[in-house]
């Protein structure tokens, strides 16, 4: 039952991916995960490693989305790593796995689980990169960083002082604009008369130019790395770096962005390749064993336990209760659609999809759904027309037509990804699609917020934190403004949280000390731990 058997087979997805890797063993604990784990693990370990890794990443996501900055996450990171870079002991194993092994296995297992579609890949890449970045910044000493660069073949060498002359004025200006006056002065001084002081030899790397005064001043200043701008998109986007003729001049303290960029690019590529290999059936012989676990892991993320089947998450919803439930408990996205439907007796395709799948998941059965939609639509069109044009699609959403997939309701991520804009389209995430004024109006009118509260929520949306804005609206409306530990990730989750408030059951962690990690335990543990098979 050892998982590693898959790695030994040259036909496995992982082995395929590894066959083109350079095979140097990484000595540092932080890793680019270039190599496959080479020891055996038991099947039950496979799952617990993955779940722990998932908990770690989700906790980071949570902490980050609460607006904590990277340097504030240092202690969180340590707690989380200690807690989650572990595996449940296996009977076959005598000594516990090291943290490094857990790290390695956990990462590689999630790659399999999260490779199957764009949404999952994007999530994994974002959060693995975040973890990597934090670890690079907070767990490595300068010398360890250097060693890391060397062992991972990241050939970044600081620019020579002469090379810096092209852009010295710009670099100084950028430092000054960010309030780093002293460093700006040092940098400027190291350029003064540098032409004379620096030996114009072919490889006059200033850090090693002996003896000259300007060189030593230069050495006291920061080093810059000259790289193609494509490697540091985040620094480019925030105008935190000087660009000159297609190169970015990255200061040493931003080296982490550079390395993380490489990490991100490699992981993204590897996930696509893993997916291709899986789709091509490379892994067919593992289908009965590991694949279901992997598939289950991916499902486990997609919204905290939001399932596709009718009423999987709630009790049955009756048509006559819908209006009240809508005004009380629907998130703004669904309420907007609901009201548009009632007003116009029509919704366009995107809106119908988004709303009907949501309604399905809050417990509206197919017969009731047909009755409800028909009731609304036939205020404008005939019943015959409705049956002909719309009924099929609704039944399709319930898995009764076509390829008979029981479709899952849209997550926030999916709503946010909708393209909206045509006249008469109300789907997508209103926190994103509505203009600030319109949003405030809607919050006051529909979510019953005060103008001040609406302003506060709209500000979050303006900054691009759509889900936080939505969560804030929920807190203000249902929890007296008290901060919830749980984030809004899914319209159906919002609905459940809102309903719980009515029943007097607090959602999320019960005010537990503010430690993001603790709250996440609740969220993830609330899902079945030995589930899987679809």
């Amino acid at each position: 039952m050892a998982w590693v058997s898959t790695a030994r087979k040259p036909s496995s997805a992982l082995a395929l991916e590894s066959s083109i890797l350079h095979q140097n063993a990484s000595s540092s604990f932080l890793s680019m995960y270039s190599n496959l784990p080479s020891s055996d693990i038991a099947l039950e370990e496979f799952e617990s490693l993955a779940v722990n890794r998932l908990r770690l990443l989700k906790a980071l996501e949570h902490a980050k989305s609460k607006g904590r900055r990277d340097d504030e996450l240092k202690s969180t990171l340590k707690t989380l790593m200690d807690r989650h870079m572990t595996a449940d002991a296996s009977a076959e194993r005598e000594s516990a796995m090291t943290m490094a092994q857990c790290d390695d296995f956990g990462h590689h297992i999630l790659r399999i689980a999260y490779s199957r579609n764009e949404e999952l890949r994007k999530w994994l890449v974002t959060h693995e990169t975040l973890l990597f970045k934090l670890r690079f910044r907070h767990t490595l000493s300068p010398s360890e960083r250097e060693r890391f660069l060397a062992t991972n073949e990241l050939p970044y060498e600081p620019c020579s002082n002469a090379e810096l002359d092209d852009v010295r004025d710009d670099l100084v200006q950028l430092l000054e604009s960010t309030g780093k006056k002293e460093e700006a002065a040092i940098l400027r001084a190291s350029g003064g008369g540098a032409g004379a002081a620096t030996t114009p030899g072919p490889s006059a790397a200033a850090t090693t130019t002996p003896g000259s005064a300007s060189a030593s001043r230069y050495a006291a200043a920061r080093a810059y790395y000259k790289v193609p701008f494509e490697e540091v998109p985040d620094l480019v986007a925030s105008r935190a770096v000087v660009l000159h003729r297609g190169n970015a001049y990255v200061p040493s303290e931003s080296l982490v962005s550079l390395v993380a960029g490489r990490f991100r690019a490699r992981l993204a590529k590897a996930l696509v390749m893993t997916n291709r290999a899986l789709a091509a059936g490379v892994w067919a012989d593992e289908a009965g064993r590991v694949a279901p676990i992997a598939a289950g892991l991916a499902l486990r993320y997609l919204g905290p336990a939001i399932e596709g089947e009718v009423g999987a998450n709630s009790q049955q919803m009756r048509v006559q209760d819908l209006p009240k439930a809508a005004t009380e408990h629907f998130p703004l996205c669904m309420l907007t659609l609901f009201q548009a439907l009632r007003r116009d007796a029509h919704l366009r395709h995107g809106g119908r999809m988004q709303l009907s799948l949501f309604l399905k998941a809050i417990g509206l059965r197919m017969e009731d759904a047909l009755a409800f939609w028909k009731g609304e639509f036939t205020r404008k069109i005939t019943a015959e027309d409705f049956d002909k044009r719309y009924a099929y699609n609704l039944r399709h959403n319930y898995g009764k037509e076509g390829k008979r997939t029981d479709y899952t309701p849209y997550s926030c991520q999916k709503c946010l990804a909708q393209t909206v804009g045509a006249v008469g389209e109300y789907h997508g995430c209103p926190y994103r699609t509505l203009g600030s004024a319109q949003l405030k109006e809607s919050l006051v009118e529909n979510m019953k917020l005060t103008p001040m509260q609406a302003k506060q929520v709209a500000e979050k949306a303006q900054q691009g934190h759509y889900q936080l804005a939505c969560g804030r609206a929920l807190e203000l409306r249902r929890f007296g403004g008290e901060e919830l530990e749980e984030n809004v990730m899914h319209p159906n989750q919002y609905f459940e949280m809102s309903r719980k408030s009515e029943l007097g059951v607090e959602g999320g962690g019960d005010g537990g000390g503010g430690a993001a990690a603790a709250a996440m335990e609740v969220e993830v543990a609330a899902q079945p731990v030995t589930p899987i098979a679809r």
């Binding site: 991916e17 083109i20 890797l21 350079h22 270039s34 579609n117 764009e118 991972n152 073949e153 990241l154 050939p155 004025d169 710009d170 200006q173 950028l174 000054e176 604009s177 960010t178 701008f229 494509e230 998109p233 985040d234 480019v236 986007a237 925030s238 105008r239 935190a240 000087v242 660009l243 000159h244 003729r245 297609g246 190169n247 490489r262 690019a265 490699r266 590529k269 590897a270 390749m273 997916n275 291709r276 789709a279 600030s436």
Partner: protein, 461 residues
Amino acid sequence: MASDLDHTSDDANAQLAKKLKTDDHGNAHDDAQQKAGDEIFAASSTHDLMPLYYRTHFPYEAMYTWLAYGHALPTTSTTSTSKQIAVKKKNIDRTFFPRREFCFTLEGDVFVRYQSFKDVHEMKKAIRERVPAKIDIGPVFSADPSRRHAYSAGTSFVPMEREFVIDIDMTDYDDVRAGAASNNLAASSDDDWAYMTAAIAVLDAALKSDLGFKHILWVYSGRRGVHCWVCDRRARMMNDEVRSAVAAYLQVYKGTEAGRARLTGNLGHPSVKRCLRETLRPLWPTVIDEQQMLERSESIEKALALIPDEDVASALRDRWSRGSKKSSDRWQELESAVTRAASSKKGLDAIKLRECPNVIILSMLYPRLDVEVSKHMNHLLKAPFCVHPKTGRVCVPIVDAQSFKPQNAPTLLGLLRQEITLDEHVSRFLEDFVHPMLADEAGEMEVDAPAAPTTPGGASW
């Protein structure tokens, strides 16, 4: 306006046809008559004249030469003057051009996406047959777009490369530009063209000196805006993340809220400073005089709202409520008032005051990008040499941004009356833009030929 006249459009067409006929005989016509003709034209459907345009004027060969990027098939009959720069035969990818998506907008706003053509002949045939009101250009996909259904979702049919594009529309300047209040849209935005001239200058400089791009094509959008196509191979290969980053880097103005412009990012970045110093400040006095920026009360308020000291602002408001000094003089008053006030303050307040003239300039004149267009490979943009259905103007490449005026753009009517031709525009498009770009392209393909990973470590997965 157009809809009011819809019921008379048949009548108008008849008149137009008559008019065209007389002009064919070379008869002179007076200005009044010409004006009447243009109005009739604007009201009638451009669509009726498009078949003729596509039959005789649209530069298929030039478009193909551009979009094939050196992968043109040798059978192409090129015009005698154009020197054919092609990559070495073995490096020609015959599937390159056929993998490019085109989108036709047919009459009645029907979008037909995922059109693709084997070569210039097929493209020509399709355009002539279907007579699109608008042609959009999409990315080059991993496979022929017309056969995308043969590939499973999301895996094998993905965009592979695409020019980095920028879209700037003058409607985004409506809160500041003088002509926005006027009802005559086309004429008013012609007068406000200075904003586009500034936008081109700013972005062209940043794209070249910061990002290192060389092959940048600016195209008039046909009404009141410009499109930019960055065609360097490196730009075409950027993934969506990098595109978003570049868009964010170039985006300084981020909309207006409650009457105040919102600027974004580090405004002290050397690139922003350079743009102020070398482009915006030199243009500023002319533009504000032309726009009467500090003479119209609404735009005065827009500027004053950005001064962080209420006393300074109200003193200026007071002073400007009288007299009739021109805007550039008032601007000097503003600058000295602000400097004076700053000298009596300390710390952040002083800095904010001293920087506020720059903030005002950036708020009014910095290019207002529609960044969504730039962020994704898979975004369509109207092709050069389309005809704008409302104005009848041809979307010509802008070769000299300083002197370009939208009212001088060739019109469909002028072309069909044979008063003008597109020849000059097409040959400059080829000589100034396409050929230099292809020469570089051929060079880069040579280098890339062994298909080895170029970045150490980067491609090893």
